[in-house]
């Protein structure tokens, strides 16, 4: 029985390990995050605005619920890094001149804070430092309010504000091309003429503060100072993305272990049923001697406990090991100054409880049946199995079926529940494998839709401020620019009924060749001269469909409020926003022909030159290269996906192996007499292997397509649960992913089949002549 016990232990171990891995990683990241936030006073509320006098600080401080407050100056600057010719942007945040920020404090990994007396000292974030191999004392140039300045690195730091540092509207972090920089308030204010003023506020609240009231009161105070609206920590991008990650971990910690534990319950049930069946005479004898039902039950319970314990202990060890590895992978992207790997007792207790539950589910009925049978009845040989012609044979295909094939079909039909559960078990393995490949396919599809079908520009140029459309002529004249289109981006608030959402409207040129909007079938949508298109997910959130009137509140400039008809919903997987004809948007803004930037098609031979040109253009705030975005995205995802594929393969293989091996072993033990008889009658080893393994082969053939269906459903559920305004995962599964899932299952089944085949080849033929059925 050791092979079967091993197979079950493997499945229990896999289920427990998966659960422990996801649960401990989530708990550890959560604990680490909370500690970091707490120790470094991460703000509760954030505000970005154009400019407000420092005098307003006290007014904001007096808002009911506000605890601590800090005003800052934060700006974006173009950076020039020696040896790196591409466009780099830095977000500069001021730190108080007395040295230590009150809120969003810095963890200084190396060095020190900048000297407020020096205007060229800077602290940079760790990922940026590592990406460029910066050391303390290194220098790089920055365009600070139109003037070149050489900055010296005095410190390398981490901040709770930038656990995940991402450029606004980017698809993934770009550690090389975007960094966070901290400079003294004095230096930044002087450079940007912000003495006595601020454009950034962070604050913490008292525990009993009413968040909505605080946000409203802040907006009321700062609304006239170019504010885009206060937002809470839950909408702060770094925190938000980390929270989405937690959501996924939580979901994974529930789904996958359930699959394993159900499979384990089934396997335990099959093995225990068989064991108790073959030992019924011994059980009867013991009961005849006076052993109670409870004694018999306890005896077999001990066997089950042994199997579960082995799986539990090894699963906990494996889960902790995997959890640490997974934590390490997260730490490469989400930057905490430390990582506390936590194994809460509750997680272990939950693992124990669900393992016990699976064991009980698998054995209760069998144990009860064994215990309740009267001894005399149990001592009698079991009545012979009743067979009948299978349903399939009744269709008339009988004449083409050999006797071995009939044996296979009738055997399958005789135990329909066991056959069904075996099919489900193998299907679950296939589904598990499918779900791991699905993410890779979905991401590839997202990239294809976003960056091949929809966005066709090589480079996106952004201006510091909305600029006259005439600026595009200068851009078009640059050597290396083959084609250019303008765009405008305006921050807005959409309102429909009781719901509202803050985002931007992208104004695109009519007949744009570089920025194509797609409908739900990924067909091009032509931007009409008037009206607005919004992302389909946003439409769903607001309850808006084509034809409805959407209230648009502009958050800058004219601050116009208009009702604009929704023309269509655009298919988009990343972010949510609105789209309008550029001219229509400018009419809404009532500012003439203004643009926020340009989409460019460039000659790659001139790319470095263009970067240099743009860095010297004061009106240009930065550039984004499409290919870099794509490459970066895959680089960031790669390690995580590889790890998940590795884990999923192990897990799926263990289920497939466990179910197939167990079924084959039980089948062999139940039918060894029959198979040996056929050997005696002249059947070859291969012919009797066909009978035993053919049954399993048929089960696998049914299970794999079913696994595809279950896997598809699982992926659909995952896609639905993970959908948010940040991204939506398309339900796309490529053919090769289906093939991979099938191959993993087939190989696992083949290995277990080979092991059983070996036992089959060594059946004792002589023994069978003397034994009764």
């Amino acid at each position: 029985m050791k092979g079967q016990v091993f197979a079950i232990t493997l499945v229990v171990m896999s289920g427990v390990a998966t659960f422990i891995m996801f649960a401990t990683t989530m708990n550890s990241l959560s604990f680490t995050r909370n500690k970091f936030y707490r120790d470094y006073n991460f703000a509760d509320v954030f505000v970005n605005l154009k400019r407000a006098p420092e005098g307003l600080k006290d007014k904001i401080k007096n808002i009911n619920g506000v605890n601590q407050l800090e005003t800052r100056v934060s700006v974006y600057a173009k950076l020039d890094i020696k040896g790196f010719s591409e466009s780099v942007t830095g977000k500069i945040i001021s730190i108080p001149d007395d040295g230590t920020p009150l809120l969003n404090r810095l963890y200084i990994r190396k060095g020190r804070l900048p000297d407020p007396a020096k205007d060229n000292e800077v602290v940079i974030n760790e990922t940026f430092a590592q990406a460029h191999n910066f050391k303390l004392g290194d220098q790089f140039a920055a365009v600070i309010n139109g003037k070149w300045k050489n900055l010296t690195i005095t410190g390398i730091a981490l901040s709770p504000e930038f656990v995940l540092l991402m450029k606004p509207w980017a698809m993934s972090p770009d550690f090389k091309r975007y960094g966070a920089l901290w400079m003294s308030r004095k230096a930044v204010s002087k450079a940007y003429d912000m003495d006595g003023a601020f454009n950034d506020v962070v604050l913490t609240l008292y525990p009993d503060a009413q968040l909505a009231d605080v946000l409203r009161d802040i907006d009321n105070i700062l609304g006239n100072y170019g504010g885009y609206g206060a937002y809470a920590r839950k909408d702060q991008i770094s925190h938000r993305l980390l929270s989405e990650e937690f959501k996924q971990l939580q979901m994974s910690s529930k789904i996958y272990p359930i699959i394993f534990i159900c499979v384990a319950a089934f396997l335990i049930n099959v093995v225990m049923s068989r064991t108790i069946n073959t030992q019924r005479e011994q059980i009867a004898t013991l009961k005849a001697f006076g052993y109670r039902n409870l004694d018999v039950g306890l005896h077999y319970t001990k066997l089950v406990v042994l199997i579960i314990t082995a799986g539990l202990l090894s699963g906990i060890a494996a889960g902790i090991w995997f959890g640490k590895m997974l934590g390490g992978i997260y730490m490469e992207v989400y930057r905490f100054p430390y990582f506390f790997y936590k194994v809460y007792p509750g997680v272990i207790v939950t693992a124990v409880l669900i393992s016990i539950a699976s064991a009980l589910a698998g054995t209760m009925h069998t144990l009860w049946r064994a215990a309740k049978q009267p001894p005399a009845e149990a001592m009698r040989p079991e009545p012979p199995a009743r067979y009948r012609v299978s349903l399939i044979e009744k269709t008339g295909i009988n004449r083409w079926l050999t006797q071995p094939s009939r044996i296979i079909l009738r055997n399958i039909e005789r135990k329909p529940i066991r056959t069904f559960l075996s099919v489900i078990g193998i299907a679950a393995a296939c589904a598990t494998m499918l779900s791991s490949g699905f993410f890779k396919d979905a991401i590839s599809f997202m990239v294809r839709v976003q960056y091949v079908l929809s966005q066709k520009e090589d480079m996106t140029l952004s201006f510091e401020e909305p600029t006259s459309r005439r600026a595009i002529y200068e851009i078009r004249e640059l050597e290396g620019v083959r084609y250019a289109e303008t765009y405008r981006t305006v921050p807005v608030k959409f309102k429909f009924g009781q719901r509202s959402y803050k985002t931007v409207i992208n104004g695109i040129e009519p007949d744009s060749r570089l920025h194509i909007l797609l409908d739900k079938n990924l067909k091009n949508i032509t931007i009409p001269p008037s009206g607005i298109l919004i992302t389909d997910h946003l439409g769903e959130y607001l309850g808006v469909k084509a034809g409805d009137l959407l209230t648009v509140e502009v958050l800058e400039g004219s601050k116009a409020i208009r009702q604009i008809p929704v023309v269509a919903l655009a298919k988009q997987y990343l972010g949510v926003m609105g789209y309008m004809n550029l001219d229509a948007l400018n009419r809404l803004m009532n500012e003439g022909e203004a643009i926020s930037g340009a989409y460019l098609v460039t000659d790659s031979n001139y790319q470095s030159q263009l970067f240099q040109k743009f860095i010297n253009m004061p009106q240009v705030s930065g550039t984004v290269v499409r290919n870099n975005e794509i490459r970066n995205f895959y680089d960031v995802q790669a390690k995580g996906m590889l790890f998940f594929t590795f884990i999923a393969t192990i897990l799926a293989s263990s289920i497939a192996f466990g179910v197939v091996y167990n079924s084959a072993r039980i089948s062999l033990s139940e039918r060894s007499r029959e198979l040996s008889s056929l050997r005696v009658l002249g059947y070859t080893r291969g012919e009797i292997a066909y009978i035993l393994l053919g049954e399993l082969g048929l089960i696998i053939l049914i299970a794999i397509p079913l696994g595809f269906i279950i896997g598809y459903g699982l992926c659909a559920y995952v896609a639905h649960v993970t959908a948010s305004d940040l991204f939506r995962v398309p339900l796309v599964i490529e053919l090769h992913t289906y093939a991979q899932a099938a191959v993993v299952v087939l190989i696992s089944a083949l290995i277990s089949g080979m092991i059983v085949r070996y036992k089959l080849d060594h059946l004792d033929l002589v023994e069978v002549l003397k034994t009764r059925e």
Binding site: E674, S677, V766, L769
Partner: protein
């Protein structure tokens, strides 16, 4: 001995030793024997006398420790597993004490399971007719009595038209009345098809229907007698 008939089995100095842990069991200790075409031979002896071991080696199910066994000139002691399987497939019919039918197949299908792989078989229905089971073709073993199951087993064994029929305690699990029915079937097959038949039994009465009776004891042939007057199976009583 029927020297005019072809010699099917030639056994010389056959020995078989089993290792049971530390102990060596000498199941056969130098057995010499022949079996001729068309003969019905009974191997008689108490439990542990070596009769099953001898049958198993003759049937290609077991290998000898030393000695020589040939079937129609082919040396079985030198045959590999594949050759022995082929030998059993074509030349040997087996009847077991506990029938060893395939419980998921009907009587007809149990016979067909052998005819499907045989080179020159008879129709399953004809084989079952020979044993008087024409009206039980589509019954499963669970629906047949012990005697009927054994007769299905006999039909299965002879359906491939084997040269040799080896029966290990064919009536061992049956009452005397049913046993006689089974023996009648074996007798008929031996007589009508001319199949050389060896029957193992510890029941002395059954020896009366044989051409020859070979007595085994303690792994050796202690006596070989010829029945000058054979009893018919119907006349046997125990």
């Amino acid at each position: 001995m029927n020297k005019s008939k072809e010699k099917y089995f030639h056994v010389r100095d056959l020995a078989k030793i089993y290792k049971m842990g530390e102990v060596e069991v000498h199941a056969l200790r130098g057995v010499d024997m022949e079996l001729y075409a068309g003969e019905l031979v009974v191997l008689l002896g108490p439990s542990g006398s070596g009769k099953s071991t001898l049958l198993n080696i003759m049937g290609g199910l077991d290998t000898a420790t030393s000695g020589f066994v040939s079937y129609r000139g082919k040396d079985l002691t030198k045959a590999n597993e594949k050759e022995l399987t082929e030998y059993r497939r074509i030349h040997v019919g087996f009847v077991f004490q506990f029938y060893n039918l395939i419980s998921s197949l009907t009587a007809r299908e149990n016979v067909a399971v052998v005819t499907e792989i045989a080179g020159n078989p008879m129709a399953p229905e004809d084989a079952l007719a020979l044993v008087g089971l024409t009206n039980r073709l589509d019954h499963f073993p669970a629906q047949l009595s012990g005697g009927e199951q054994q007769r299905v087993a006999i039909a299965r064994a002879i359906s491939k038209n084997p040269s040799v029929l080896l029966c290990d305690e064919p009536t061992g699990a049956l009452d005397s009345q049913t046993g006689i029915v089974v023996l009648k079937a074996l007798e008929r097959i031996n007589h009508e098809l001319g199949t050389a038949t060896a029957i193992i039994t510890h029941n002395v009465d059954i020896a009366g229907m044989a051409d020859r009776v070979i007595h085994l004891s303690n792994g050796k042939i202690v006596e070989a007698t010829v029945n000058k007057v054979k009893k018919s199976a119907g006349d046997l009583q125990w």
